[in-house]
């Protein structure tokens, strides 16, 4: 771990990084645009320039070199001394900021980026208060460059991050630079728009309001948004994300930096999945079947009803005729609460995990590169928590079967009481289950969307969207990540963890952290660490 001196301060840093990265790691807010730790270094914005102490070529004496050096391009070396707090550096920063704002439109009042704009922030700290150009600004067009993204080129500062992202991370290279000199712009080949699966990230990395998300355009001022730590629920990769919400509504999802899972990125399917929260087909309240019709239930009756039924069924041969299908869309805590309750009342019940939907193969980015050199992977398994749920099931002990075997038992009439948790946000329960369920005496269905499966149930318990619950998911690599509740569930719904908590006979309010503690105490070591350390910073730029 080399130690370098920045502005007189001794800073210990990682090896083989740039001085700029070392400074940023140490919390120094050195202004920069084109540098991004996930992309190649181009040193083109010229804002991060620093002074460095070097040996004089003739005398060998150490002194401040008369030449500025880009801190993004200079690797750290033990004992090197650099400074940003000098007039030469400050003068360059003022000039660069003035130049960037020279032809920049005065769009702040109507620009999405306001409030999280690096141009605003650096102009305030390092720039000039006024521009001295009296001639008219030149103007570039606003472009519709893809199904999800706009490019307002009059605001672009040509940091080149978006172009490098598409070339180096996505591997698709839709974006390019056109023209020369002060007429430089970013563009796509007309007719070949920005469509790669990771394209939403260019909006994240754009320091200004040039790359814009169509869905988010002019919908919220970012200073009204609050952020919840979260994990993407759309595949087993479990990218670390945050949920930006305001007034009980989710407005956008953004990735958080996690070197173990997703780096700085997330895919479009995850990024734009918050629409699923507002699906009309969602189950709106608990209900039961009585005399052939659907009767809404009061939440206060649910727990006792369920408990009574399952305790009863559990007495018969220790619950040998009971089958539980656990959903890979449930959180670890929810799965544990359910399975530990069932195990308590029915030691011989049969557990199976509903298979995750699988679509195609894992997608590796940059496209065409071998897996070892992948910068991002989208998993083919489209559920977030199969591994966590399997762990919970195993821990509960007893009879485990494959999903197919449990279906066979149900179809063969050997299972009489069942609890099926489905929970996919895109389609309601699988049809083979519905068929097999025809011979059950009593069926509880927990699902997200209403459909034939919930229609066949004796008791329907709605599942909430993941932004409406707190819990944790275990991704395909075994990493457990927690997610916080961002918005309350719609009127009439109760957080899954809460009713499962009550069904399990516990008193009080469901708290995911406390449940994890209980899980750790019961022998599940993976859940000890999650409780203690949150993953990643909430805001990553």
């Amino acid at each position: 771990m080399p130690t370098i001196i920045i502005d007189g301060r001794h800073i210990e840093c990682r090896e083989r990084i740039s001085v700029l990265q070392a400074a940023l790691d140490a919390g120094l807010n050195i202004p920069h645009y084109c540098y991004h730790p996930g992309l190649s270094i181009v040193a083109s914005c010229r804002l991060c320039l620093m002074e460095m102490k070097m040996a004089h070529p003739q005398t060998g004496e150490l002194g401040w070199a008369p030449k500025l050096m880009p801190s993004c391009q200079t690797p750290v070396k033990e004992g090197m001394e650099v400074r940003f707090n000098s007039e030469m550096v400050a003068s360059n920063q003022r000039h660069v900021m003035e130049y960037l704002l020279l032809n920049h439109p005065l769009d702040c009042p109507v620009c999405d980026q306001a409030g999280e704009c690096m141009l605003q922030d650096y102009a305030l700290k390092f720039g000039r208060a006024t521009s001295r150009m009296v001639e008219p600004k030149h103007w570039n067009a606003k472009k519709d460059i893809g199904p999800h993204t706009l490019s307002y080129q009059d605001r672009c500062i040509l940091c080149g991050r978006c172009v490098r992202f598409c070339r180096e991370v996505a591997g698709t290279g839709e974006l390019c630079v056109v023209n020369r000199g002060y007429r430089n712009e970013i563009d796509v080949f007309p007719g070949l728009p920005l469509t790669n699966e990771l394209q939403g990230n260019v909006v994240d990395i754009c320091p200004v309001g040039a790359m814009l998300d169509k869905k988010f355009l002019m919908s919220q001022r970012v200073w009204f948004l609050e952020s919840a730590e979260s994990v993407c629920p759309m595949c087993s990769r479990g990218c670390t994300i945050r949920v930006d919400h305001n007034r009980r509504r989710v407005w956008r999802l953004k990735p958080r930096f996690n070197p173990q899972v997703n780096g700085w990125w997330m895919c479009d399917r995850g990024r734009f999945c918050s629409g699923l929260i507002y699906d009309d087909r969602r189950l709106r309240q608990p209900a039961m079947r009585r005399d052939g019709s659907r009767v809404p239930l009061d939440w206060k009756d649910v727990a006792s009803m369920v408990r009574a039924r399952f305790e009863e069924a559990g007495k018969l041969e220790g619950g040998k005729q009971m089958g539980i299908v656990v959903s890979p869309f449930m959180s670890c805590e929810e799965a544990w609460l359910l399975t530990s309750f069932i195990r308590q009342v029915a030691p011989n019940a049969m557990f199976a995990v509903l298979p995750s939907p699988v679509r195609g193969e894992d997608e590796i980015f940059p496209t065409g590169s071998p897996r070892e050199r992948a910068k991002f992977v989208i998993s083919a398994e489209k559920a977030p928590n199969r591994r966590g749920v399997e762990k919970a099931c195993l821990q509960a002990g007893g009879r485990h079967s494959s999903y197919e075997d449990l279906l066979a038992e149900m179809a063969g009439g050997r299972i009489k009481t069942a609890w099926i948790a489905a929970g996919s946000p895109e389609s309601s329960g699988p049809s083979e289950l519905i068929k097999a369920a025809g011979r059950l005496d009593y069926l509880v269905v927990q699902d997200y969307l209403g459909g034939v499966l919930s229609g066949a149930a004796n008791l329907v318990l709605p599942m909430c969207a993941w932004t409406e619950r707190e819990g944790s998911f275990m991704n395909e690599g075994g990493l457990v990540q927690r997610f916080q509740r961002a918005v309350p569930p719609p009127q009439g719904l109760m957080q899954d963890g809460q009713y499962l908590f009550e069904i399990a006979g516990r008193r009080g309010v469901f708290n995911a952290g406390r449940v994890r503690q209980m899980m750790a105490e019961s022998g599940m070591a993976e859940f000890q660490a999650v409780h203690e350390a949150p993953v990643g910073p909430v805001h990553a730029h």
């Binding site: 270094i41 010229r46 804002l47 001639e135 030149h138 040509l158 630079v177 000199g181 002060y182 430089n184």
Partner: protein, 448 residues
């Protein structure tokens, strides 16, 4: 000033000098034979000893540049910089059209010394006639086994390709040139890595100017001592100087670098002074990037070092243009500012926006709507850019800033006088017309 037998321009007056047969009649390709017999290391040593400095504008010692190539390399490229776009340079043009085989021989000798696999002659697109002459000369040389799989019967093999440019001054910068050969936009690269280690297609590469490579041929032919016998300390060997403007004999002159600007413009053996009725206001002696000399600074020696005493950026290409008294200095200012705004590649913030801004200001001054503070602003913008102070990636920014500052500083008197002579309120009125929104404080109405 010492005289010597010209070598670079030796064949200029010879009829059909571009033909291989004629070139051979005048001793052509004997230096190549000699080099092949000397051995590659000895050729490098000889060029190092001769203190040959690059003639493309930067003046970097060629032998030292070759020495940076990693010894264990497998592939080496040689890029021949024939982009010649610095106004008002035209010396490489004459070399290529009048004596193409001299260049080919220089390329082959350099290629042999540096174990080059392939050489690319980067020739600007506007050199149409020169391309045809050069390509046919290359074809002749291939046919005569002077280029190809076994050159002159030895086991030295090399290819020479002409890669035509497409109209970009910045592609004369060595890394911009390499980017252009690779089929990309000519955005110069950051260094490190240096071209000698990781250059064209990521391989060890040497980039040399046309005139430099022609000098290599003569160094091998006549020997390093002969080369050292020409010119002052630090600026050895013959140099081509191009003179243009309202002079009696514009053209290319081969001289030692102890020549002064006065000699070059007024000398009997050189441009012979200004034409009838013209008087001298100033001279830009190195190509516009280097800056301007006032009429009282003509004793400046045109070598790599003395020029700095006169606050020129360097010798540059040694192409001098005489600015006559009748030319308004504001026109000169606009001309150079507009050039750099047009040619800036756009990567670095200060150069991209700064050159554009300087051109806008110079345009306004030239149209009679300048303000005194504009001159200070121009100097400040010039000072904010440049590769030498570390602000930018390439030297275009140094040239852009230097010439504007040079013209403003050395001709401040005339500029202020012209600005003060504008009708009262001219600047104010013009600005209100050019940019009403700025002055009325109105928001720009979006009509797109």
């Amino acid at each position: 000033m010492a005289t010597f037998q010209p070598v670079l321009t030796r064949n200029y007056g010879v009829k059909d000098s571009h033909l291989l047969s004629v070139y051979r009649e005048h001793g052509g390709y004997e230096a190549l034979s000699k080099a092949l017999a000397m051995g590659a290391e000895n050729v490098v040593e000889e060029v190092k000893r001769a203190e040959l400095r690059g003639r493309g504008g930067a003046g970097f010692p060629a032998g030292v540049k070759w020495g940076f190539l990693p010894p264990n390399r497998k592939v080496t490229y040689l890029c021949v910089n024939c982009d010649e776009a610095e106004p008002p340079t035209f010396k490489d043009r004459t070399l290529v059209e009048k004596d193409p085989h001299q260049l080919i021989e220089g390329i082959l000798i350099t290629g042999y010394a540096t174990r080059t696999t392939a050489a690319y002659i980067y020739m600007r697109a506007e050199f149409h006639r020169q391309f045809h002459v050069m390509q046919r000369a290359v074809d002749e040389a291939y046919a005569a086994n002077l280029i190809g799989p076994n050159i002159m019967g030895s086991d030295f093999k090399m290819d020479i390709y002409i890669h035509r440019g497409a109209g970009a001054y910045v592609c004369g910068e060595e890394t911009g040139l390499m980017e252009s050969i690779e089929g990309r936009r000519g955005w110069p690269r950051i260094k490190p890595p240096f071209p000698a280690v990781e250059g064209l297609f990521g391989k060890p590469t040497v980039v040399n100017n046309v005139e430099t490579l022609c000098c290599v041929k003569h160094i091998i032919e006549e020997g390093a001592d002969w080369f050292l016998g020409i010119g002052p300390k630090g600026s050895k060997g013959p140099k081509l100087f191009a003179v243009s403007g309202p002079v009696r004999r514009p053209g290319v002159y081969e001289a030692a670098m102890d020549i002064t600007c006065r000699d070059l413009v007024f000398g009997e053996d050189f441009a012979q002074g200004l034409t009838e009725g013209e008087e001298l206001k100033g001279v830009l002696p190195g190509g516009i990037s280097m800056g301007i000399l006032g009429g009282d600074e003509l004793d400046c020696k045109l070598d790599f070092d003395d020029v700095r005493r006169y606050r020129l950026l360097g010798l540059g290409t040694g192409a001098a243009v005489v600015v006559p008294k009748r030319t308004d200095i504001r026109t000169v200012l606009l001309n150079v500012a507009r050039f750099f705004a047009h040619e800036s590649c756009g990567q670095c913030t200060q150069c991209r926006e700064g050159t554009g801004w300087m051109a806008k200001i110079a345009s306004r001054i030239a149209s009679g709507a300048g303000r005194i503070e504009d001159l200070d602003l121009l100097v400040e913008i010039s000072n904010s850019m440049g590769m030498m102070p570390g602000m930018n990636i390439c030297g275009l920014s140094d040239g852009a800033g230097w010439v504007v500052r040079s013209v403003v500083e050395k001709f401040r008197g005339e500029l202020e006088e012209k600005i003060k002579a504008q009708p009262a309120g001219a600047a104010e009125r013009a600005l209100r017309q050019i940019n009403p929104a700025y002055y009325e404080g109105a928001a720009r109405v979006s009509a797109r």
